[in-house]
Every structure is written in structure tokens, then in C-alpha cells.
């Protein structure tokens, strides 16, 4: 399956929500990364045909989704950013309702509802009113709702917000299991959610596509720029002011600072005198490098 996004523009009054966004998606997990207000939700809403775009088109296997209409929606599983629930429904009722809306047959329903409830670990509370659920439980229910009916395109807007670490890992594994023959799009700010399972990462900033590549190649782009410095408390001030710091780790006798060299800095010149070693970049580093430069540019302006 191939979902092709071609030159999507969307403006909200004066604000540019999306600006000529294009990408081609095939089976696998896509991590959609970007800071608040970058346009992730806007893009997703356009893909799900919840709002219309000003220009551009989206096509599935070469056919415009507007022409596909109903049959396009039958492929969709969508988890919105905000919980959309009826507090007085029970979890099972809610899922069976959404299942019915997704044109699931009655015989299928029983199996599907039970399956997705088990998948998100809510089977035990399936006949409790949703109003009594905790935030994380609601979040999982929303995910279950997206998964029911075996959709071929799964779009998740911040699926792991508010989940505890155990559930987060569960969900991550669940999603990667799903992605074998489906398109899965995950919008998130939490890099670790998509870092290891994503086939490709899409970085989006101010409505514009910045990077679109596999995690490996993204990390390669930062080769020779990520270092770890072993130092002591008293030097910390200086390092913080000088370098882009990703992480600070305290050990019993010393401090390990993970830094990202800026474009105009070089290993030889700037790291001279420190006890340092080069390490492999992660997607988080890429994220920081992309979106921090941005902040700096604004500061200069």
C-alpha cells in the first residue's frame, strides 16, 4: 500500500499550519516528530479527512482519497490527540459502538472487541464506565478504538502521552507488531517511542518537512558531533554555556555530560583539554540539533 501526500498547504487565518508538505508512505511505522505547534495534528487531520486542505492532494495507491471517500475511511484507524469518549459508556460498549461504526459484522465484533481490549490490557475493566477510568486507561482505550476493525492505515496522535513506562513499552511493542503489513503513523514528541520501531522518521517544523529518512541515516548525519565529557561539578557551568548539552549524568565521583557540537565547533579545537570520547548519535540528538538551531536563530534575530 502506498499513501502519497503531495504538496499539502493549510493556513489558519494568518498562521501557516502546513506548508507544501509532501511525503510518500509505505507499509511500516513512521515517526512524525516536531515541537508543539509544528503542524503534526493538522497533517493528521488532513490525512484522516477531518479537515480539508487549501491545496495539494493525498492519494492511496494512486487514487485521491476524496474520491475514495467511504472506502478510504474503511482502511483508517485513528487515535486523536484528545480523548473522545462517552463517560457513561462502558469500555466494551464503546468499542462495540465504534466497531459498529466501522461496519464490523456482528459475528466479528465479539472477537475483535475482546482482542483489542486484551491488546491494550483493559480486559479486566471492560464493563466499567469510562468516566471512572484514569487518564492512561482512557488513552489506552483510545488506542484500542483505533485498532478495532483491523485497519490498514493506523494513525496515532501522541499515543503514549500519560502512560506509565510499562504500558509505554507494551504499546510500543504492540504497534511494531501491527506494522508488518500496515501503514502506521505516530505523531509524538517522545523520541524514544519511535526511535527503535520506526522505519522512517519525519521531522516537521512550522508546517514544513525538515527531514524524512530512516533513523540510521538520520543519526549518521550527526556523525562526529556527539561526545561524552567526563568532568567535575565545578566545570559544569562552563560546559553548559559553551555546548549544546543533551544529557547530564551523575556518577559517584564525576559527572558525565553528553554534548552536541554545533556546526561551527570542531572536536580538536573546542574539546581540547577535556576528558572526552565520541559516541554514536541517537534520534534524540537529531531532534535536539534540528529544533535547537531553530531556537538559536530566533534568539539571534
Amino acid at each position: 500500500m502506498e499513501l502519497k501526500i503531495n504538496g499539502i498547504c493549510k493556513t489558519y487565518g494568518m498562521i501557516k499550519g502546513l506548508d507544501k508538505f509532501s511525503a510518500t508512505l509505505t507499509d511500516g511505522v513512521y515517526g512524525l516528530l516536531g515541537p508543539n505547534g509544528a503542524g503534526k495534528t493538522t497533517l493528521i487531520r488532513i490525512i484522516t479527512d477531518s479537515i480539508s486542505c487549501d491545496s495539494g492532494e493525498i492519494s492511496l495507491n494512486g487514487v485521491d482519497i476524496k474520491d475514495l471517500g467511504l472506502s478510504f475511511r474503511s482502511y483508517l484507524g485513528y487515535m486523536p490527540q484528545q480523548d473522545g469518549i462517552y463517560p457513561s459508556f462502558t469500555a466494551a460498549q464503546y468499542l462495540s459502538y465504534i466497531g459498529a461504526l466501522k461496519a464490523l459484522r456482528r459475528e466479528e465484533m465479539n472477537r475483535q472487541v475482546e482482542y483489542v481490549l486484551k491488546a491494550v490490557n483493559l480486559l479486566e475493566v471492560s464493563d466499567r464506565r469510562i468516566g471512572t477510568f484514569s487518564g492512561g486507561m482512557k488513552q489506552r482505550l483510545m488506542l484500542a478504538q483505533a485498532l478495532i476493525g483491523d485497519p490498514k492505515i493506523i494513525i496515532l496522535d501522541e499515543p503514549t502521552a500519560g502512560l506509565d513506562p510499562k504500558e509505554r513499552i507494551r504499546i510500543r511493542n504492540l504497534i511494531s507488531g501491527y506494522a508488518l503489513n500496515r501503514i502506521v503513523i505516530i505523531a509524538t514528541h517522545v523520541v524514544s517511542d519511535v526511535e527503535y520501531i520506526a522505519k522512517e522518521i519525519i521531522l516537521i517544523k512550522k508546517g514544513r518537512l525538515i527531514y524524512h529518512d530512516t533513523p540510521d541515516r538520520l543519526c549518521k548525519s550527526l556523525e562526529n558531533r556527539v561526545f561524552e565529557i567526563k568532568t567535575y561539578e565545578e566545570n559544569l557551568e562552563k560546559i553548559l554555556s559553551r555546548f549544546e548539552v543533551c544529557n547530564i549524568q551523575k556518577t559517584t565521583e564525576s559527572i558525565i555530560v553528553r554534548i552536541l557540537l554545533k556546526e561551527n565547533q570542531s572536536e580538536k579545537k573546542d574539546l581540547y583539554g577535556y576528558d572526552y570520547r565520541m559516541i554514536r548519535a541517537t534520534v534524540e540528538d537529531v531532534y535536539l540539533s534540528v529544533f535547537d538551531e531553530e531556537r538559536e536563530k530566533e534568539l539571534i534575530k
Partner: protein, 777 residues
């Protein structure tokens, strides 16, 4: 104690419980007020009762009787000021100087209360009854004692041992009674406060809600599973639940009854509350030596006791059935059985204990205090109050005990079977169509069913047919009697009958010295005129079937519905309020819960949801139409009947201008079709607003201002308002007669409604009309 406060806070001090209580209070006060106003007549000033009562309380027996009799005579003269009437009064009231009274009437030197002569008259008559009843208390007691003594002695009358024992108990009870100085006392306030049918029914419904809050909330949300791991046992938990429920019931019953008291006090006052209870009209068979004030306090206590008893029983039903819906059905069944037993068993039957000691009869709380009643227990008479109290105490205690023990067992069983959830329970996934989920969302979550149910109760409590003698004056009564004979198609025999009857009555009138046939003659004359008019219509009409259908029609019932009278204005107000309350949430619920985004990405989420919502809107409008108008139609059909549905509407004088082709039935259907269209137009506007605002409350306030305000203004007497906006449809009569301005207005409204509908359709379904596709580069 801690557990109880915790329970109380969890179940009853939350928002929905408080809102429910506030609604209960508001509905109670409103319903009591409305039913009192309807009973007295909307056009009359209800405070006049209080004024008159106060005046009478300051008088003694003779003064009061003299005053009332004089007023009655004067009002009679005011209604029929003729020489012959005065003659009748002279013989009927020999002690009064009729001529002087006539003079007073001419000078206007008499008291007016409501400014409506026949209302004043019936008010004075009623008060005369009350005055006589109050001052004849001693004689009444004596007569009861005498009768009991007679029965006791002569065993011929007594067929069962119960009768004799009952007689001797009655004798003892009344003989030992020591109540002196029963004087006239203002009773209407006490009657309204403690004998209205509305408060008990509302509180009973409220009781069910309380049970649901107490029990099912925890059960449905499986909190019980967590709670049972607590240190304290289940027994304490259930006890604290029950006690907190009792506490809440007591508080809400007290507050609600007090609210009825407040309304009654504001309307009528309670008179002299230090006087004995027997001074209240209708309460004189009571054998309890308490004052009116004491009675009012005791009433609240008894009410609380009854409601605690009933809610214990209800909770017991819930605990045993352990399913909220079936529980409610169970409660309804129990109450239904009680009702049938109460209505079915004769009061003198050997089994009359089931008639009186039963949940339905208990709801009529004041009876225990004001009525003298002995129940047959194995042929021994036992006082009703005693049995009542024993039943309530024992019943409550038993229910309490069983509840605790049942729930203990139940919890243990589920615990065992779920056994730390090793064995997966068989889960039932609810499978229902989209439509039923939509119904559930729009009518249960959005509390349409409750609103309509409460409204039904209000309707049943306030709208009931009355006897012709209560509502008709003499002439109208004669007219009705003639119509009973004449109703149906015109014929020569009827014309002849009328003419002969006129001659006959005129002859009688001449022989009669009191001229008592004047009214009748007038009525016959008007009927003859009517007959002539109908015959003219007959000649004008050229279609045979129309000719055959031209009939005498008794108009009274039709007039209430076909003209913009009180009934029409009132029902229009009701209908618009109901539509606003019921429809406001239907579309808003999706936006408010953020579920719009979820359902619209699904296959059926757009079109089907939209159309089902529309269908539900239609259904609700239809139910509103039925619940608002059906009780009134039944009332009028019982009071005056709706005969001659085939006859042309032009047979009625008020509709003489309409073409002959339209029959009464057609007009009837047309009128209600117009009203229904009005409701749908309103509902469509509300749906659109609801989708845009996404807030039921905001929608309701906007629509209240837009739709209910005009209905209310025109209800409160601003005639011009009845011709604008939705009132065009809701009143319907002027539109039904095809008045041009209204027709244009209604067409504009309908077009606007269709536009709204289309906008909503496009918005909800995200239909894109113009595809703005850029040529791909």
C-alpha cells in the same frame, strides 16, 4: 463514622446528586404552584382565598355565616340580575333583607375577591361549607358516637365479629376524645402542603434515583472489588452505605416537603397553627389531639419514615437483582402490584389489610393522621396509624438486615469465582446496532427520558377532567344538556322538537311564579338560531356528503383546542420548553466529548450518525407532541366529548368563515400537523446551534431566549407575540385558517429551517462542494 461520611460524600455530595436534588425542588415547587393555579383558574387572583380566610377567622359562627350568605345572594344577583331571581331568594333566605342586599349590590357596596362573579360565588359557597363543617364539629362527634353505640348494641346489623369490635373501638376512641373550641381555620394551605399528589410521587421517583446512586454506582464501576480488600468488612461497608442513604433521603425529603410548605404558605398561609387539627376542612375524623402546627411537623417525620422504608425496600430489590435496569423494573412491578391491591380490594373486605398496609397507600402519608380507620386483622380492629408505624419500622429493619447479609454472601461468591481473576470470566460484549447506541446517547445519557418522564408525572398530576357542574354555569349546563340530545346531523325532527319545546317551556314559564325558566328559554332561542344557520349552510352546500354531515356540534371541547385560549398558550409554552431541553444535547454531545473526531473517521460515522440523530429528533418531537397534548385531549374528550368529527368545521360559529369542505377531523389533523412542523423547525434550529456551540447548556440558553421567551411572553398576555416566530406554528389556529401574513411568515421559517438543515448536513458530514485541486506539478 468515617466510612459513612466517605460514602455520603462519594454517592450524594457529588454534582449529579446535587443537581438532581435542586431539579427535584424546582419541579416540585413549580408543579404544586401550577396545579393550584389550574385548579383555581388561571384568570383569577389566587390570593383572594387567603384574604377571605383571614376575614372569616376573625368572625364567629353567626357572623361568618351571615357574611357568606349575604355575599352569595349578592353574587347571585350580580350574575342574574332579574326581578324573578330576587323573588326566589326571598323565599329561600327568609332571614335576610333581600331588598337591602339588592340595594347594596346596586351601590356596589359588597366585597369582590376575584372580580369574576361566578368564581367568587363558588368561593363563597366553598367557604360556607367549611364554616359549617368547622362549627358543627361537636355534633359530628356526637353522631359518630351514637352510631357506634347503636351498632354495638344491636347485633342485627353486625354480620361479622369485626363489625361489633370495630363499633366498640370506635365508641371508645371518640368518647375519650377531648377537643374543644374547634373554630373556622384557613385550611387550603395545609391541604395544599400535605395533600397534594405531586410531592409524594416525585419523592418516590427520587427514591429510586437515590438507590441507584447508593448501590449501582459502586457495583457498575467495580469499586466493590477494591473496597472488599479494605480492612473493614463488607458488613460495615453495606451498613455505612445504608445509613448514608437514610441520611440523604431524610435531608432531601425534609427539604422537598418544606418547599411544598413554602409554596402553600406563600399562596394561602397556614391559618392559625395552634388550633386543633380537626379545624382543617376534611380532617375532622382524626382522633389525634394535636394542633395544626404539630401536624405539619409530624407529617414531615412520617414522610421521612415512609421514604426510608420505601428506599430500603428498593435497595433490597436492587441488591437481590443486582442489575440496575432489572432493578428498576422490579421496583415498578412492586409498586404496580401495590397499586392494584389498593384499588382492587374493597375497604370492608376481610383482607383490607392489603389495601391499606401497602406501599402505594403509604405514599398518601397524611391519611395516617387525619383519617379514622381500623384495619381488620383476623377480625380484630387495629388502628391504621399503629399498623403503619409497625410496618415501617419492622419493614425497614428487615430490609436493612437482609441487605447486609445478602450483599455479604454475594461479594464472597464473586470473590471466589473470580478468584484473583485466575479464571477468566465469560465476558459478554454488547452487540447492538448503531441506531440503538445513538438512542442511548441521545435519550439516556442526554437525560431526555427522565425529562419526559417527569413531565408526564406533572401532566398526570395537573391535568384531569372535571365534572361539568364544576366548570359550567347554569346556562352552559342547560346548553350541554340540550346538546346531548341534539348532537348529530340536522334534521326536521330536531327543528320541530326545538320549536315545540320552546312553546312548552314558555307555557311553563307563565305558570311559574318565579320565572325559573328564563335561562332555558334563552338557550332554546339560541339553538333555534343555530339550527337556522345550519339549514342555510345546508342550502348553500352542493355536495351531498357535505350536506349529510352538517351537524349540531357541542363546541366546548373543540374551542379549548382550536382557539388561542389558556390551553393553547399553556401547551405551546410546555412544548417549546420541552423541545429545548430535550434537543439541545443531541449534536452537542459529540463536540463536547471530543468524540466527533473519532466517529467521523469511521465508515458509518458521518451519514448514519447524522440521519439517526435526525430520526431521534423526529421521535422526540413526536413524543413531546403527544405528552403535551394528549392529556388535554383526553381531558376535554371526557369533559365535553369530541363528537361529529365528519361534520364541516364551519358548523361551529367561530369557524363560520372556513370552507365547507374542511371537516372537523381534517382541521384537527391539520392543526396538529402544523404544531408538529413547528416542533421540528425548532428542533432543526437547535440542532444547528448545538453542533456549533458544542455545549448543551449554551445551546439551551440560546434557544430558550429565541423560542421559549416569545411563547412565554404571549402566554403572559402579550397578544402580539402569538403571531411571531415559532408561536405561528405552536398556536397554529390562525395559520390553520390561512391568514396571509402568518402563511408568509411560516413559509419563510420553513425555508430557513431547510437551509439550516442543509448547512448542518454539510458541516457534520464534511461535504466538500467545490474541489480545489491544484494541478500536480
Amino acid at each position: 463514622m468515617n466510612l459513612i461520611t466517605h460514602e455520603l460524600r462519594k454517592s450524594f455530595l457529588n454534582r449529579s446528586a446535587i443537581i438532581f436534588l435542586v431539579c427535584l425542588l424546582a419541579i416540585n415547587m413549580l408543579a404544586v404552584y401550577i396545579s393550584e393555579r389550574i385548579d383555581f383558574g388561571f384568570d383569577a387572583d389566587i390570593r383572594s382565598i387567603r384574604k377571605l380566610d383571614q376575614l372569616l377567622m376573625g368572625m364567629d359562627k353567626t357572623q361568618a355565616e351571615k357574611y357568606l350568605n349575604e355575599q352569595i345572594i349578592i353574587q347571585n344577583i350580580a350574575i342574574m340580575d332579574r326581578q324573578d331571581i330576587i323573588g326566589i331568594f326571598k323565599t329561600e333566605y327568609p332571614d335576610y333583607d333581600i331588598n337591602k342586599l339588592v340595594e347594596r349590590y346596586r351601590k356596589g357596596d359588597y366585597d369582590k375577591y376575584t372580580d369574576i362573579a361566578y368564581r367568587d360565588l363558588s368561593l363563597f359557597r366553598q367557604k360556607l361549607l367549611e364554616v359549617e363543617s368547622a362549627y358543627s364539629y361537636d355534633e359530628y362527634i356526637q353522631s359518630v358516637i351514637n352510631r357506634a353505640e347503636q351498632l354495638k348494641k344491636s347485633s342485627i346489623f353486625s354480620d361479622t365479629p369485626f363489625t361489633i369490635r370495630n363499633a366498640s373501638k370506635t365508641y371508645d376512641d371518640f368518647n375519650s376524645l377531648d377537643i374543644k373550641m374547634v373554630r373556622f381555620n384557613s385550611s387550603k394551605g395545609v391541604l395544599c402542603a400535605t395533600r397534594n399528589g405531586i410531592t409524594p410521587i416525585l419523592l418516590w421517583v427520587f427514591g429510586i434515583f437515590v438507590c441507584i446512586q447508593t448501590f449501582t454506582k459502586d457495583r457498575d464501576s467495580h469499586n466493590l472489588e477494591l473496597l472488599r480488600t479494605m480492612k473493614r468488612g463488607r458488613k460495615q461497608l453495606m451498613t455505612s452505605k445504608l445509613i448514608s442513604m437514610y441520611y440523604f433521603v431524610s435531608v432531601s425529603v425534609t427539604v422537598t416537603v418544606l418547599s411544598s410548605y413554602v409554596i402553600s404558605y406563600l399562596l394561602y398561609g397556614f391559618g392559625d397553627i395552634s388550633m386543633p387539627l380537626q379545624s382543617v376542612y376534611g380532617f375532622r375524623s382524626s382522633i389525634y389531639e394535636i394542633s395544626v402546627g404539630g401536624y405539619l411537623v409530624l407529617y414531615i417525620l412520617l414522610f421521612v419514615a415512609v421514604m426510608i422504608f420505601l428506599s430500603s425496600v428498593n435497595l433490597l430489590i436492587f441488591v437481590t437483582i443486582s442489575n440496575s435496569l432489572k432493578g428498576i423494573v422490579g421496583i415498578l412491578l412492586v409498586m404496580g402490584t401495590a397499586y392494584i391491591l389498593n384499588k382492587g380490594i374493597s375497604s370492608v373486605s376481610f383482607f383490607n389489610v392489603f389495601k391499606y398496609i401497602n406501599a402505594y397507600h403509604f405514599l398518601d402519608i397524611s391519611r395516617a393522621l387525619i383519617e379514622y380507620l381500623n384495619i381488620n386483622i383476623l377480625n380484630y380492629p387495629v388502628s391504621y396509624l399503629l399498623l403503619f408505624l409497625i410496618t415501617i419500622c419492622v419493614g425497614t429493619f428487615a430490609a436493612f438486615y437482609i441487605c447486609i447479609h445478602i450483599s455479604k454472601k454475594k461479594k464472597e461468591r464473586t470473590y471466589a469465582s473470580s478468584g484473583i481473576l485466575l479464571k477468566a470470566r465469560k465476558r459478554k460484549v454488547p452487540v447492538a446496532g448503531i441506531f440503538w447506541y445513538e438512542v442511548y446517547k441521545s435519550m439516556v445519557i442526554n437525560p431526555v427520558i427522565i425529562i419526559l418522564l417527569v413531565f408526564c408525572i406533572i401532566q398526570i398530576a395537573t391535568v384531569h377532567p372535571r365534572e361539568p357542574s364544576e366548570i359550567l354555569n347554569k346556562k352552559e349546563f342547560i346548553y350541554m344538556k340540550y346538546m346531548e340530545v341534539l348532537e348529530g346531523s340536522i334534521s326536521d325532527t330536531k327543528s320541530v322538537f326545538l320549536k315545540e319545546n320552546l312553546i312548552e317551556i314558555k307555557k311553563k314559564q307563565k305558570e311559574d311564579t318565579y320565572n325559573s325558566y328564563t335561562d332555558q328559554i334563552e338557550v332554546i332561542m339560541s339553538l333555534i338560531a343555530k339550527d337556522d344557520r345550519l339549514h342555510n349552510l345546508y342550502d348553500v352546500a352542493n355536495d351531498q356528503t357535505i350536506r349529510r354531515n352538517i351537524s349540531f356540534i357541542y363546541e366546548r371541547g373543540y374551542k379549548e383546542i382550536f382557539t388561542d385560549g389558556t390551553t393553547t398558550r399553556f401547551t405551546a409554552l410546555y412544548a417549546s420548553v420541552l423541545i429545548v431541553l430535550c434537543i439541545s444535547g443531541i449534536f452537542a454531545v459529540e463536540i463536547k466529548n471530543n468524540t466527533y473526531e473519532v466517529i467521523t473517521y469511521t465508515v458509518y460515522g458521518r451519514k448514519r450518525t447524522f440521519w439517526y440523530k435526525q430520526i431521534i429528533t423526529l421521535i422526540i418531537s413526536l413524543i413531546v407532541l403527544i405528552t403535551v397534548y394528549l392529556p388535554y385531549i383526553i381531558k376535554f374528550s371526557k369533559e365535553s366529548g369530541f363528537a361529529c368529527l365528519d361534520a364541516p368545521i364551519a358548523c361551529m360559529e367561530d369557524f363560520a368563515l372556513l370552507p365547507l369542505e374542511i371537516s372537523v377531523l381534517e382541521y384537527f389533523i391539520w392543526l396538529f400537523a402544523v404544531k408538529f412542523i413547528g416542533l421540528i423547525v425548532m428542533a432543526t434550529f437547535i440542532n444547528l446551534v448545538s453542533h456549533y456551540t458544542g455545549e448543551p447548556i449554551v445551546t439551551a440558553s440560546i434557544s430558550l431566549a429565541a423560542f421559549v421567551l416569545p411563547a412565554f411572553l404571549s402566554f403572559s398576555g402579550i397578544r402580539e407575540m402569538s403571531d411571531i416566530l415559532m408561536n405561528v406554528f405552536l398556536y397554529g389556529n390562525r395559520l390553520a385558517t390561512l391568514s396571509l401574513a402568518l402563511t408568509i411568515q411560516s413559509i419563510v421559517l420553513v425555508i430557513a429551517c431547510i437551509v439550516c438543515f442543509i448547512i448542518l448536513y454539510i458541516k457534520f458530514n464534511k461535504v466538500i462542494i467545490i474541489k480545489n485541486r491544484k494541478p500536480s506539478s
